[in-house]
């Protein structure tokens, strides 16, 4: 047995090809061909995705003269960090970074905690009207926040709980510009893409076998305790990836930030305004209105963008597995 095996292994490729009447060569050739085509295709698409990022990186180290130098394409002649300093000053980077970090972390922790709770409830319990409530979750995913934005805006501008506050203080509260409304919405699962998180978490819990839970119930474990001590550790991968999504999307979010967190400086908001801020900054510095060249404002915009997405990219590099693999292995089914 072992002898024949070694004999086969010793036979050359052409020998084996001859024995299989050319089938092996054909198969090998088609394999090589497929992998070459695949490589070209994937390389092209990856380059397509990465190119703007690489371009931004190279531009962010250039001085203004390099931008106008036709010889300079991607490697700057005058290497400089001034763009970063200027962007940081315009964006008020230190302060907005801390603000963004605090708000993104607190909001995503809150949202994911509540969504896990709700998702588990939908996955594991039978109760009347369950289908209806789940249809409402779908509705939340489908309704664009823009539809209710103007009403929410007024809702928080003239905030009141069933007329109680007006009864006590005489007028309604203006909650706009404070963080409170957004926290309230996060508790109620109505934050950014929360319907999607509920859906994903529910899918995950549905796929876990019933046995462990049943055993816990038989042993007299309560429902909340079962959830906390048995199911929660099981759901770790999906909770981590949902948390990462919540964090990243909150970090770059413009819509909710603009609506609720108007007067708090956040990185996502300052990047959206960076070109206008640059003009104002220059005017303040020089005392006269100056026209900034398109190339330079684009350069500052690129630098600012890099500074905003930098932390997120670093996070992604470390937690790439959580982002991609855990979701793709969840096995989403209808």
């Amino acid at each position: 047995m072992t002898k024949t095996k070694t004999k086969i292994a010793k036979e050359g490729f052409w020998e084996r090809n001859r024995k299989s009447e050319g089938y092996l060569l054909k198969k090998k050739a088609s394999q090589v061909f497929v992998s070459i085509v695949r490589f070209i295709l994937l390389f092209g698409l990856c380059f397509l995705i990465l190119q703007p990022l690489l371009n931004k990186i190279s531009v962010s180290f250039m001085t203004e003269s390099d931008l106008f130098n036709p010889i300079v394409v991607s490697i700057p002649v005058h290497f400089t960090l001034d763009n970063y300093k200027l962007s940081a000053e315009i964006m008020n980077y230190g302060k907005s970074f801390v603000n963004s970090l605090v708000i993104s972390i607190t909001v995503s922790v809150l949202q994911i905690a509540v969504c896990t709770f709700v998702g588990y409830g939908f996955a594991r319990f039978k109760f009347p009207l369950k289908k209806l409530w789940f249809a409402f979750v779908m509705l939340v995913i489908v309704v664009p926040p823009q539809v209710i934005s103007n009403s929410l805006f007024l809702h928080f501008r003239f905030f009141d709980i069933f007329g109680l506050i007006r009864l006590i203080t005489g007028s309604s509260l203006n909650l706009r510009g404070s963080v409170l409304p957004y926290y309230l919405m996060s508790i109620g699962c109505m934050g950014l893409k929360n319907g999607l998180y509920i859906y994903m978490i529910r899918q995950f819990f549905r796929n876990i076998p019933n046995d462990m839970e049943e055993a816990a119930y038989v042993d007299g474990c309560g429902m909340v305790k079962t959830f906390l001590t048995i199911m929660l550790p099981e759901g770790k991968p999906i909770i981590t990836s949902c948390f990462l999504f919540a964090f990243v999307w909150q970090w770059t979010d413009g819509f909710y930030s603009k609506m609720f967190l108007g007067n708090i400086s956040l990185v996502s908001m300052s990047i959206a305004r960076i070109v206008d801020s640059l003009g104002a900054y220059m005017q303040r510095l020089l005392g006269v209105t100056v026209t900034i060249s398109v190339a330079y404002s684009n350069c500052i915009l690129s630098t600012g963008t890099l500074m905003v997405i930098g932390p997120v990219v670093i996070l992604y590099l470390f937690a790439q597995r959580q982002f991609v693999e855990s979701i793709s292995s969840t096995g989403i089914k209808m």
């Binding site: 698409l45 939908f122 489908v142 664009p144 979010d253 959206a272 915009l301 989403i332």
Partner: protein
């Protein structure tokens, strides 16, 4: 106390008791959602619907609404110069791009599901746009008036350089077959970058579906003499057909919510600059209802073709 004793006597009722307890626990678990849904979704939804039939007068400390019927809708469609045009353009763009995104993400996920060196790296790169092009990052450059102008200039100046699609386009155009349809296809190919950026989540969803198909099925088909092309249509396609529905709904909805959407921009402008809440509500509702109707009809049509294993 007595009730509990009675329950213990009959095991059937006891079971009902457990089910009842589970039902209550279920409601406790989803209570946050119910609260949020009623307060932050249902109420604003109805208010905004009501507002769309009203003339909203915003004062310093309060706002007043006077009922005007369908006036705001008439105003949006017949008086406002941009709205109808933006709406039609966005809807056409939505259909074309959603189709392109679905096709693109399906084929990319088929490739990414094969085994080859550096697969993890390629997957990571394809997923990067989900993170990088979210929220304000999307359309940051196109929103910037100066840079948009510059891009236009570069495109005009670069007319002499021949792109691959241009050459093909002229050949196909001279044959004169389905010119309009070809134009749309070329538009999509020219904007393949946008398509690739928007298809991260869809690729992941398809990948997750592909991984649930047992390998033994392909092996059996292979032994029976099935080619790879046949097994793609006979095994892969039916197995993940339900995910086409999920992805279709997600793509269309995602496209409607994008911040660089012309209709959304128009509404934001009416609401924040003109402070015309009634008209803004009417515009949003008209847009929303059209999109919902579209999603409903198309997903009903797709669900007819979905194959369920169980």
């Amino acid at each position: 106390m007595e009730k509990r004793k009675e329950m213990k006597k009959k095991s059937k009722i006891r079971l009902a008791g457990l089910e009842k307890r589970k039902a209550i626990a279920g409601y406790i678990f989803i209570a946050p959602f119910i609260f949020g849904f009623l307060v932050f979704m249902v109420r604003p939804l109805f208010q905004s619907l009501y507002m769309s039939f009203c003339n909203v007068d915003l004062g310093a400390a309060k706002f007043e609404m006077t009922l005007t019927g369908f006036d705001q809708y008439f105003w949006a469609f017949r008086v406002d110069p941009d709205y109808s045009r933006a709406l039609v353009e966005e809807l056409v763009r939505m259909v074309i791009y959603s189709l392109a995104i679905i096709v693109f993400s399906f084929f990319v996920s088929l490739i990414l599901n094969q085994k080859f060196k550096g697969r993890a790296l390629v997957r990571a790169i394809f997923f990067l746009p989900v993170i990088l092009s979210s929220g304000v990052m999307l359309g940051l450059e196109s929103n910037n008036q100066l840079i948009a102008n510059l891009q236009q200039t570069i495109e005009d100046a670069g007319a002499s350089t021949v792109s691959i699609t241009d050459g093909l386009e002229t050949i196909l155009r001279t044959t004169g077959v389905g010119v309009r349809a070809f134009e749309k296809v070329f538009e999509v190919i020219d904007n393949i970058y946008d398509v690739a950026l928007a298809s991260g989540i869809q690729i992941i969803v398809f990948l997750s579906g592909l991984q649930t198909i047992p390998r033994s099925m392909y092996e059996a088909a292979d032994i029976e003499g099935c080619t790879a092309w046949e097994s793609l249509w006979k095994i892969t396609f039916p197995s993940i057909s339900s995910l086409f529905l999920v992805n279709w709904v997600y793509t269309v909805v995602d496209f409607c919510m994008r911040s660089d959407n012309a209709v959304i921009e128009k509404i934001q402008k009416i609401m924040i600059q003109n402070q015309n809440y009634g008209a803004a509500s009417a515009m949003t509702w008209a847009y929303f209802l059209i999109v919902i109707a579209f999603v409903g009809i198309t997903s009903f049509a797709i669900s007819k073709g979905v194959y369920y294993n169980d």
